[in-house]
């Protein structure tokens, strides 16, 4: 397994794989999000309690759940980078962090615009909302730690440690609605039992959740390419590429 994976840890190989895969990811993400959003906005039935305001769910839940998934993937990459000194993993951390931060911001803003008509307030300091805000600060911490060292090996180590320590926040977000009484409603999608949602609402929601997931991969891949090039600027293959594409 490791023997098979090892060549992909080589920067040039990783870059080429990213170039090949990026268009597939972008295409799949756009298709899924387009279908899911249109379905959710126009065709999904109106909620009997919340009226049409519930349609915010089709962007709120995907961005919130994927902000956590992105964090876990970033932390896994950080762990691989720290333990096995795999540099491409460090660069993956740097590429995922801004994407996750934007998703967390989207989750917070769409949550506020859903909270205002339903709860009567944009924001409350309850467990779910506060822990999601902490997630945003963790992302910002990782981004700024990575940006503040000139030596990127050291920067990746510092950012990686913060990313791994921050994992403690993920189960807190996930179970906050069960552990503490909260304004936030508990999860409607359940993996082990039947979901508390009719399938005409559930399918577009799942499409968008999956679509946002692929979108994270797509944007991270695009950012990863730039990161690989920036960190290998002295290598001949990057210099060739820069001479060919750099000056227009």
């Amino acid at each position: 397994m490791l023997k098979w994976l090892h060549p992909y840890a080589e920067p040039e190989r990783a870059y080429q794989v990213a170039v090949k895969l990026q268009f597939w990811f972008i295409g799949l993400a756009l298709a899924l999000v387009a279908v899911g959003t249109t379905w959710g906005l126009i065709f999904a039935p109106t909620d009997y309690q919340q009226g049409d305001s519930y349609r915010i769910i089709f962007v709120h839940v995907p961005s919130a759940s994927m902000s956590m998934v992105a964090y876990m993937s970033m932390a896994c990459a950080a762990f691989i980078g720290l333990v096995w000194k795999v540099k491409v993993a460090d660069w993956a951390v740097a590429s995922i962090a801004p994407v996750g931060a934007v998703l967390t911001l989207i989750a917070l803003v769409t949550g506020a615009t859903w909270g205002k008509p339903m709860w009567g307030t944009w924001w409350v300091w309850d467990a779910r909302l506060t822990s999601e805000l902490v997630l945003l600060f963790l992302y910002l911490g990782v981004i700024s730690l990575y940006a503040s060292f000139e030596d990127k090996v050291l920067a990746a180590r510092a950012a990686g440690i913060l990313a791994i320590v921050g994992v403690i926040n993920i189960p807190i977000i996930k179970y906050s609605v069960d552990w503490w009484s909260s304004l936030h409603q508990p999860s409607t999608i359940k993996i082990t039992e039947k979901s508390a949602m009719p399938s005409e609402m559930l399918i577009p929601l799942l499409l968008n959740i999956f679509g946002f997931g692929v979108l994270i991969i797509a944007i991270s891949t695009i950012r990863f390419k730039a990161e690989v090039l920036a960190r290998n600027s002295m290598r001949p293959w990057v210099r060739e590429l820069a001479k060919a594409q750099g000056i227009k």
Binding site: I42, D52, I222, A226, G246, I247
Partner: protein, 64 residues
């Protein structure tokens, strides 16, 4: 189709402002992120190319 007319669709059962605000923030943020990320590679390559050009100019002046 859940809506009778386009204006009803925009109105979102009275929640139009909140729904459209949420959707526009989402797609504005995602769009900006995609554009900034897509430009990243070109920026990096330009920086490296400028650096290479500078090194070559330095080498030339040294040779004279």
């Amino acid at each position: 189709m859940q809506f009778e007319s386009f204006s009803e669709f925009l109105n979102m059962g009275g929640y139009g402002f909140y729904v459209w605000f949420a959707y526009s923030v989402t797609f504005f943020c995602l769009g900006t992120l995609v554009i900034v990320s897509a430009k990243g590679q070109a920026n990096v390559l330009t920086k490296i190319a400028v650096k290479i050009a500078r090194e070559e100019r330095l080498k030339e002046t040294r040779e004279i």
